[in-house]
Each structure stands twice: as structure tokens, then as C-alpha cells.
């Protein structure tokens, strides 16, 4: 069954691609069928525990679902279907639709493949397919290809090769590629390998989940990919890194004597990622970039939770994994819709879309509230649990750091909302209409999902609970979520509904207030119509107030902004290229020189004959 599903995806990808050459409509239909049919089969036909074996080169590939991977695969499949529906109108009239469909399908397939892999070889195979399919997406629109694309690919390759190295070492030492075997027999490794392998694996997974020094690819890659894909990219694909990290944390690191130290280091890296990425997000003027940095930041929260690893922290992390997929998926869809309708995503160019695209605004509003972690919505639950876990764990400084990040996060949340939807309508955007229904429905659905999960978090706790029990967490008292004050105080059935009602009431009140107040007494002028103290602005000068929206704040954090890790990598890359250039000049082009090399080599070998051959 699993094999069939994966093959259906693969075959579907190729057929879609070919079908798209015939006619776009055929391609669209095939694409939807390719995503929805296997996904439906996955939901209905696959049970946890079912195992498939394949054989290749004397290796056995083992596929099967575990409760942990079931949790992640639900995200992948659910997000995959919604984004597929969204993607069809999004890609209409664009170039390279066939390639988009092909890579989208392959990405979904490879993520499912990673999750069902029970051995490292198939894990790696799907990991690499995921990498190159997402890479082709990142470079799909042809912007900044060499810089962004290569950066993404190099980092992914470093991660993948670290994983490859770890897995061949484990295989040679333990004689098995099975995930379970390598985890169970981990203590049989030598001390050196016990340190080396987790580090290699953490590098591999850290790259995908955009952990701090390895994150530099992420903002560019997220913002460069087509928006219909970025939701999947940030919502599901980066979660694969988290999935791997959970595996490593709960199985390998726990068995190490230095485990706590490593956990603390990773947690601090996560916290720092969250804080720094938030600051960067605030300075962005482009919605795509802003969300991209925000994604990096959110991954930081998740990493903190995974690294701390107490039941509550892990619960918070898992919850955030699910919720982040929902609100970030929805937000990227919002940006995609805006891009589709207006042709730009820059805050300084767009204003007041609230009336033009109300549904988009509503989903953006809900998702942003969830992202900011404001009470009634799902983001709040996860963040609360995370703080609680950290406090229980006496990590007060980390709490402060995360709290700072979270608060600073309000700034970019507001900037996002304000930048696109509020402010004054501009005549040049008068023609803008609401996005097509097929685009609106998925994003509203996802946004509403935040509502539902914020109000009834226990809906998702069951699978999370199963996943965590599989990962080795002992469920004393039957349910892990009982650990949080949230549920001990309010009970897990009633939950947060009072808060919800209260907030809704306030909301309605404000809405009514604005409605009755009306637009009386305001005068419309163009945003560019401002007094300039005697100096006439040039035409190309954008004097919207949104330019340097956060300037005072940016000035405050300037010393931090100067230290871009990106720059160090660039310097390193340039240095390497210079070295490479020097090396290739060994081949001078003069045939005689080559002959001299040959004689030199001969002389060297003759001189060192005794050292070589005794």
C-alpha cells in the first residue's frame, strides 16, 4: 500500500508534467488527482504499524508508519491537499506550471517517504528527493537563481552528506541501517562515534529546520519559491528537520552522558534563532521576506521545545509544529493571493486592501493573531506550554529571551497586517479584486483551523500523545497534556472557551464601534501628497510612511543587524573560490609543463619508494 501510494505520486508527477505539455487544463486536473487520490488512500488505507520491505543491492528498505511519523504525515498530506487546491488558480497564466506541479508532487511524495522510512537508506533517498525537488522550486521563477539557489543547495547538501556519513558509520559499526537498530544499539558505538554521529545528524536536521548558524539559506529560499509552494516549504518541509531532531534527541542524546549539555546548547541555539530571526523579520519591507524570517524564528521555538525535551516541552513543540503549519500555510497563501492580485508584495507599494480582499484579510488576521500567540488562538497554547516547561526546567534566562522574541514578534505581526490591509486605499489599486474562490477557501480553512485548535486543543492532543508515547515518553495518568497549568486549572474539556467568548465579544464591540463611527470627518489625500519643507520629492522617490516603518527600532538594533552570518559565509565562499582558481592554474596550458609534472611525479615516487613500499 505504501509503495503503491508513493509510486502513484511519482507516476502522477511525471504524467502531470507531460499532461501539462498537452493542455493546461489536463495538467491541472491531473495534478489535483495526483495529490488527492494518493492522499486519500493514505488517510484511509494506511495504518500505523504496517510494514513493507523492498530489496536493493543487498540492502533491505523498510517502510512503515509509526505514531510519531503519522502525526507529521497528517500535516504533510493535509497541507499538501489544501495547497494543491490553492496552487491551481495561483499558477494559472504563469510559466513553468508543469515543472511546478512536478516538483510539488515530488515534494509531497518525498516527505511522506521520509516519514514512512524505517531505515536510513530510504530516509536518505527521500531526503535528497525532497531537497532537489524543493531546490527546483526555489529557483523556479528565475530570480537570483545563482545566489539563492546555490546557497540553499549547498547547505542542504552539507546536511545531507553529514547524514550520509553518519549513516554509513552506523551501518559499518552496528551492521544495520534500520532506524530502530541504530537507536537501540547506540551505546555499542565507540565514544568518538557516539559524539560524532549525533553531531552529524544534528547538522543534517539543523539545516532543514533552519537552526541558527545554518539558517542563512532559509529567508531567501522561502521568499524566492512560488508562494503556493512556500506554505508547504515552511509548514511541512522544514518540519522534516524537526522530525529528525526529535528522533535524535529522544533516542541518541538521551543515552549520552553529556546529554544535558548538548540539550542545553541546542536549546540556546534555538532560543537565539527565535530572537534573532524575529529582529530580522521586523526590518523587512517585503511580506515574503518577513514571513520567511518569521518562519525561521518559529522553528527556533520548536527547537527549544524539542531540545529541552521534558514531556511538557515536547508537547509544546509538537503542538507548535502542527499549529505553525496551519498559520504559516495560511499566511503564505495570503501573500500569494496578494501577489497574484496586485503583482507585488512590498509593503511600501500596497495599502488598504482590507476592502478589496476581505476574505484574505480575515484569514490573515486570524493567522497573525495565532502567530503572535495571543490567547484565544492556537499559537497561544503552544507558547504558554513552552514557557511553562522552561520555567519548570529552571531555564529562566531562556524564558526571558523567548519572551523578548515573542513580544518583538508583535511588531512584525502588526507590520504585516498594517502593511497590506490597513492604511488608505490608493487609486492605483482600485482595480484589485478578491482572489479566486479556490484560493480563498484553503486559506480560510487553515485560518479557522487555528481557531478550532485554540479552542479545542484536545482535538490534536490524541495523536500527539500517541506520538510521544512512541518516542518514549511515559504517559503517567494517561495523558501528557495534563502537565500544563492550562489544563489543570481549566480542565481539558472546557478549555479555553471562556477566553474565546470574551475576546470575541471585544472584537464584535470594536467592529460595531468602527462601523457606526463611519468615515465621517476624514479627507482622502494620496499618501504621497505630503509637505516636503520646500524640497520637492523626485518622482521615483517613495515617500510612503511605510518606508522605514520601524526606523527607530532598527536604529536600536543596528549593532546586531551589522553582524550578518551571511557575510561570513560569503567571505568564506569567495576565499574558497580564489583558492580553487589558484589550484586550477596548475594546468598552465603548456604541454612541456605537464611532461615536467610527470617526471616530477616519477622522481618523487622514486625518492619515496622506501616509504611507500618498504
Amino acid at each position: 500500500m505504501l509503495t503503491l501510494i508513493l509510486l502513484l505520486f511519482l507516476g502522477g508527477a511525471i504524467v502531470t508534467w507531460l499532461g501539462n505539455k498537452l493542455s493546461p487544463v489536463v495538467g491541472d486536473l491531473l495534478f489535483l488527482a495526483t495529490i488527492i487520490i494518493p492522499a486519500g488512500m493514505f488517510f484511509t488505507g494506511v495504518t500505523v504499524g504496517e510494514v513493507t520491505h523492498l530489496h536493493a543491492l543487498g540492502l533491505t528498505l523498510t517502510w512503515g508508519l509509526t505514531p510519531l511519523s503519522y502525526l507529521f504525515s497528517m500535516i504533510v498530506v493535509g497541507l499538501g491537499i489544501l495547497l494543491a487546491i490553492y496552487a491551481v488558480p495561483f499558477m494559472k497564466g504563469k510559466q513553468k506550471t508543469g515543472a511546478f506541479y512536478f516538483n510539488f508532487t515530488l515534494s509531497v511524495m518525498s516527505m511522506l517517504g521520509i516519514l514512512v522510512s524505517k531505515d536510513w537508506v530510504s530516509f536518505f533517498i527521500f531526503w535528497e528527493i525532497m531537497t532537489w525537488s524543493s531546490y527546483l522550486m526555489v529557483v523556479l521563477n528565475g530570480k537570483d537563481v545563482q545566489r539563492v539557489g546555490i546557497k540553499y543547495f549547498v547547505f542542504s547538501a552539507i546536511g545531507a552528506y553529514a547524514m550520509l556519513m553518519a549513516m554509513v558509520i552506523m551501518n559499518s559499526q552496528l551492521g544495520s541501517f534500520l532506524l530502530a537498530d541504530t537507536f537501540n544499539n547506540f551505546q555499542h558505538l565507540t565514544t568518538g562515534n557516539q559524539i560524532l554521529i549525533p553531531i552529524l545528524l544534528l547538522v543534517a536536521f539543523g539545516v532543514k529546520s533552519a537552526m541558527m548558524p545554518l539558517h542563512v539559506w532559509a529567508p531567501d529560499a522561502y521568499s524566492n519559491a512560488p508562494m503556493a509552494y512556500t506554505g508547504l516549504f515552511s509548514g511541512a518541509l522544514s518540519k522534516m528537520g524537526i522530525y529528525g531532531m526529535v528522533l535524535v534527541m529522544v533516542t541518541m542524546i538521551n543515552q549520552l552522558p553529556e546529554g544535558t549539555l548538548i540539550r542545553d546548547i541546542i536549546a540556546w541555539i534555538g532560543g537565539f534563532t527565535a530572537a534573532a530571526a524575529t529582529l530580522w523579520a521586523i526590518t523587512q519591507d517585503d511580506g515574503k521576506k518577513l514571513l520567511a524570517w518569521s518562519s525561521v524564528g518559529q522553528m527556533g521555538y520548536i527547537i527549544v521545545g524539542v531540545a529541552i525535551g521534558t514531556p511538557l516541552a515536547m508537547l509544546a513543540a509538537m503542538f507548535l509544529v502542527v499549529v505553525h503549519a496551519m498559520f504559516k500555510g495560511s499566511l503564505f497563501m495570503v501573500v500569494g493571493a496578494i501577489e497574484k492580485q496586485t503583482g507585488t508584495t512590498n509593503f511600501t507599494e500596497i495599502n488598504g486592501l482590507i476592502r478589496k480582499m476581505p476574505w484574505t484579510f480575515i484569514s490573515a488576521l486570524i493567522s497573525v493573531i495565532a502567530l503572535a500567540g495571543i490567547p484565544p488562538l492556537a499559537g497561544f497554547v503552544s507558547k504558554w506550554m513552552l514557557y511553562e516547561a522552561l520555567i519548570q526546567n529552571n531555564n529562566y534566562i531562556l524564558v526571558i529571551l523567548l519572551f523578548f522574541a515573542s513580544t518583538a514578534g508583535f511588531l512584525y505581526c502588526y507590520k504585516f497586517l498594517h502593511g497590506y490591509f490597513l492604511g488608505q486605499e490608493e487609486p492605483e489599486w482600485a482595480h484589485v479584486k478578491e482572489a479566486p474562490v479556490a484560493m480563498v477557501i484553503p486559506m480560510v480553512l487553515l485560518a479557522l483551523g487555528n481557531f478550532v485548535l485554540g479552542t479545542f486543543p484536545q482535538l490534536i492532543f490524541k495523536p500527539i500523545d500517541a506520538a510521544m508515547q512512541f518516542a518514549g515518553y511515559d504517559a503517567t495518568g494517561g495523558r501528557l497534556w495534563g502537565e500544563s497549568v492550562l489544563f489543570t486549572e481549566w480542565g481539558d474539556v472546557v478549555t479555553l472557551q471562556p477566553i474565546l467568548y470574551a475576546v470575541l465579544a471585544v472584537f464584535v464591540f470594536f467592529a460595531l464601534f468602527l462601523w457606526f463611527k463611519g468615515t465621517k470627518g476624514t479627507r482622502y489625500v494620496s499618501t504621497k501628497d505630503i509637505s516636503t519643507s520646500g524640497e520637492l520629492p523626485k518622482e521615483w522617490e517613495n515617500l510612503t510612511f511605510k518606508v522605514n516603518f520601524m526606523q527607530p527600532f532598527e536604529r536600536a538594533i543596528e549593532p546586531f543587524l551589522k553582524r550578518q552570518i551571511d557575510k561570513y559565509y560569503t567571505a568564506f565562499g569567495n576565499g574558497m573560490e580564489a583558492l580553487f582558481e589558484f589550484t586550477r592554474r596548475i594546468h598552465t596550458g603548456n604541454g612541456q609543463t605537464y611532461a615536467i609534472y610527470a617526471i616530477l611525479f616519477l622522481a618523487l615516487l622514486l625518492l619515496f619508494r622506501v616509504n611507500l613500499f618498504g
Binding site: L57, E128, M165, L605, F613
Partner: protein
């Protein structure tokens, strides 16, 4: 059975001598006969390989003198495997270059196809022969055809490339003869099996010197680092199919020779370490040079050299798994690199300087060629699910089993470099704006057929690696079993 191994040599030679005669009467025959010969050789190779898989090695005696007196040819699982690849690639190269450039006239075509056929025959001879001096003769046959084919286009700088190749080749042949004569002066025999069985009697000092001379001589053919200066020039200036033949066929023969000397003939313990060292240096220098290339074919040439370095490292591991991995890499390289050369040479067909930047945005104009090139690029850097991944995995497993963590780390870092330069080209093909006004050229029907066959093979091996693993295992076992090789040759009789 449809023949014996000697026909691999005799039939092409007969055809080579016949072609000028028949060509006087029927001009098209100069193109067709080599193809027929190669097709026949392929049938022969497949037949013999399946025979050998069941019945053990074939040792063919020539001129009626049993070894060690006469020359003999050995067709076992190892050499047979390589011969089959070579002949198969040879046939594809022939098919691809059939009417490669329609302006090639009769005289040029006659020489081109004749030389191409002899290039393949020479390489096959290197692999088949069981006599060290006979191997020298075949190396010379290969080299001379190689010089001529490199200089085939008169308009370009091909003569320069060819001259460099010739200089290195001459030095190689001198070293080879010296090494052969040192062995002969000590052991009084030229038969490989005989030499191998007596090798322990030889003075270690002389043994080391002759091995060093062999390494230099064969290293030039196998494109080992300080000796490979000629290779990028020759690949870049030779006609596209010839570049493919070099990387798919000739280099394989050079590596085979080096390996045969290391594994079977000499019993030096340091030899494996030497292989690893020169392999690593070759790999690193070649990949590093490739990333800074501006011309497409030169980049492919350096990449090809790098792959050969990897093969040498893999052979240098010295375990059966290492040999398996090395053979797998060789097989994949023999399939993938010609695909890259073929599709690459169409991508820059009308470009004078063959710059990489000339492929900008060609993906839209020549989609199929571009996709095949991309497939090759993905496969050669070892991205799953394509063929190259399995060979890389088996190599890493073999290296890990021998605890060579540093080697693994180094090779994986170099792989990142390799990824970068291939991805840069792929980016240019698909995601750049077309800046030049150069026209694209539609590949001929033959070329399409060849490229699609190669592409399908990449996919088949990628999705079903077990399709080839049996042959690889047999070949690895056969190379490893030195005593069986010696025994089977020295007890060979005239059938």
C-alpha cells in the same frame, strides 16, 4: 557460444583492413561496417559474459602455444564485464556519430569511423589481454587512434590538445616499456599470470621501481592527477562523441590496467595506499578545477577526471566491497558521462567558444536535451533516485567498513563542490534569461535515440540497482581471486 574472445580483436582488424577496399566501391559502407562490427561485438560480449557467469573464465590461447609461452586472452567476469560496457558504449558512440555532422565527407568519415573502431578495439584489447607486452601494443593502438581523433577537427585548437596528449603518451610508453623490461629481465616471462605467480621471487627494490614506472605510464592513460594535464584539452577539443568515448571507454581501460597491476600482478602492500593517495589528490584537484571552468566540455572533462580519482580511491580500499563500489562507479560513469557529453555538445552546438554561459535559458528552446543533461547531472552527483546514488552509497559503505572516516569526510566535502558546479549549469539552462542570439540545433534522430537509451539506463539502475549488482559482484570476486586467475591461465590448454 557465438565465438571466442579473440574475435573481439580479429573482427575489427579485419574490418579495418577491409573498409578502404569496400569503401572504394560503396561509400556508405565506411559508416555502416564499423557499426555492424560493434553490434556483433556486443552480441559476442553479452553471450560470453553470460557463458562466463555460469562456466567460469575463458582463457583463450593464441597461435597454439599454451601460456606462458604464447599470448593469451582472458575473458572472466571482471574483464568481461568491462568489455561489455565498452563495446556497448562504443556502439552507442557510433550510433550517435553516424552522420554526426552531415558535412563530413567520405574521406573524413572513413578515417573517423575507422579510428573510432580501433579506439574501441584497442581499449577492449587492453582489458582482454593476458600479456604485459601485448597490453603495451594495445595501449599504443588506443593512443594513436586517440591522438588522431582528438585532432580530427581541423578548424579548432585540436592539434594543440592532441600534441599535448601525444607528448604525455610518448612518455607513458617509454615508462611502460622500461617497466616491462625490468620485469622481463628478472622473471623471464611476459605472461601476466606467470609473472604474478613468480612475483614473490623478485628483488623488492626492482619490484618497487617497476611498479612506480607502471603507475606513471598507466596513470597517464587513467588521468591520475599530476599526469592528466592533457585530458581536459583533449576532451574539450575532440568531437563530442570522441570525448564521450574517452571518458566512457578509454579511461576505463587505463584504470583497468592500473588495477590489474595492483591487484593481480604485483604483491606490494603499499600499492593500495598509493592508489588512495593519488586517487584523493586527483579527485580534489579535478573537482576544484572544474568549479572554475568557463567552458562546458572542460568542466565535464574535469568532472570525469574526478570520478576516476574516486574509482581509484575505491579500488585502493582493497576490500571486495571497495572493488564492487569501484566497478559500480565505473559503470555509472560510463553511462552518465557520455550522456552529459552528448547532450552538452548539442547545448553548445552553435557556440564558437563553447562557454557555459552559452547555455543560458536554453531549457525552453531545447527541452528534451536540457532535461537529459539535467538527468545526467543529477545522476553523476549522486542524487537519488538516479544511478549515481547507489554507487556513491556502496563506496561510502565500503570506506566506512574500513574505518576511513577522513576519506569519507573529504570525499563528501568534494561532492559539495561537484554539486555546486553542476547545479550552476542546470540553473543556467532552465532559470536564466537567454542572452545570446545563438540558435539551438535539434539533435539528429540517432542522437536522440542514444541519449534516451542512456537516460533510461540511468533511471533503471536508479530504481532497480539489482539489475546490475550480480555482474558487479561476480566481477569483484573475480578480480579478488588472484590464485584462481593464475591457475586458470596457467592450466589453459588449446581447445
Amino acid at each position: 557460444m557465438v565465438g571466442t574472445p579473440v574475435l573481439f580483436i580479429a573482427i575489427p582488424l579485419l574490418a579495418a583492413f577491409l573498409i578502404p577496399l569496400i569503401g572504394m566501391v560503396w561509400k556508405e559502407s565506411v559508416r555502416i561496417i564499423p557499426g555492424l562490427v560493434l553490434a556483433y561485438l556486443l552480441v559476442l560480449a553479452i553471450n560470453l559474459l553470460s557463458y562466463v557467469t555460469v562456466n567460469g573464465p575463458i582463457v583463450e590461447v593464441i597461435a597454439g602455444w599454451a601460456p606462458p609461452i604464447g599470448i593469451n586472452l582472458v575473458f572472466n567476469a571482471f574483464s568481461g564485464f568491462l568489455v561489455t560496457i565498452m563495446v556497448f558504449m562504443g556502439l552507442l558512440v557510433w550510433l550517435y556519430s553516424y552522420r554526426f555532422k552531415s558535412n563530413v565527407e567520405y574521406e573524413a568519415a572513413r578515417k573517423y569511423f575507422l579510428l573510432l573502431m580501433m579506439l574501441i578495439t584497442g581499449s577492449v584489447g587492453i582489458v582482454l589481454t593476458g600479456d604485459i607486452f601485448n597490453m603495451f601494443v594495445f595501449i599504443e593502438i588506443t593512443s594513436i587512434s586517440g591522438y588522431a581523433l582528438t585532432a580530427f577537427y581541423t578548424g579548432r585548437d585540436s592539434a594543440e590538445a592532441s600534441f599535448k596528449y601525444l607528448m604525455m603518451g610518448s612518455i607513458a610508453s617509454v615508462m611502460l616499456l622500461l617497466a616491462i623490461m625490468i620485469i622481463y629481465s628478472q622473471l623471464g616471462t611476459l605472461n601476466m599470470a606467470d609473472v604474478a605467480s613468480k612475483m614473490h621471487l623478485m628483488d623488492p627494490k626492482l619490484k618497487a621501481v617497476s611498479f612506480i614506472l607502471f603507475v606513471i605510464a598507466l596513470g597517464i592513460e587513467a588521468e591520475v592527477f599530476p599526469l592528466n594535464g592533457w585530458a581536459p584539452d583533449a576532451y574539450a577539443e575532440a568531437p563530442g562523441p570522441v570525448g564521450a568515448a574517452f571518458s566512457g571507454i578509454v579511461v576505463k581501460a587505463g584504470v583497468y590496467a592500473l588495477i590489474r597491476y595492483t591487484y593481480t600482478i604485483f604483491d606490494l602492500s603499499g600499492a593500495f595506499n598509493l592508489l588512495i593517495i593519488i586517487g584523493l589528490i586527483t579527485l580534489v584537484v579535478a573537482e576544484v578545477a572544474a568549479i572554475r571552468q568557463e567552458k562546458l566540455k572542460r568542466m565535464l572533462a574535469y568532472s570525469s577526471i574526478g570520478q576516476m580519482g574516486l574509482v581509484l580511491v575505491s579500488f585502493g580500499i582493497g576490500t571486495k566491497e571497495g572493488v564492487f563500489a569501484a566497478l559500480f562507479i565505473m559503470l555509472n560513469h560510463a553511462i552518465i558521462k557520455p550522456l552529459l557529453f552528448f547532450s552538452g555538445s548539442y547545448l553548445v552546438y552553435h557556440s564558437k567558444k563553447k562557454m557555459i554561459s552559452d547555455v543560458d535559458g536554453i531549457g525552453k528552446l531545447a527541452p528534451l536535451t536540457s532535461i537529459l543533461f539535467t538527468l545526467g547531472a543529477f545522476a553523476i552527483v549522486g542524487l537519488p533516485p538516479f544511478a549515481g546514488f547507489w554507487s556513491k552509497l556502496s563506496f561510502l559503505m565500503a570506506a566506512a567498513d574500513s574505518n576511513m572516516l577522513l576519506v569519507i569526510g573529504l570525499i563528501l566535502s568534494v561532492s559539495v563542490v561537484e554539486l555546486v558546479y553542476y547545479m550552476r549549469v542546470v540553473n543556467r539552462i532552465f532559470f536564466f534569461k537567454r542572452t545570446t542570439s545563438l540558435l539551438t540545433r535539434r539533435p539528429t534522430f540517432n542522437a536522440y535515440v542514444v541519449m534516451i537509451i542512456l537516460g533510461l539506463m540511468i533511471l533503471v539502475i536508479g530504481f532497480y540497482p539489482d539489475s546490475v549488482s550480480m555482474y558487479l559482484h561476480n566481477a569483484a570476486n573475480s578480480l579478488f581471486d588472484k590464485s584462481q586467475y593464475i591457475h586458470s591461465v596457467l592450466t589453459a590448454t588449446i581447445q
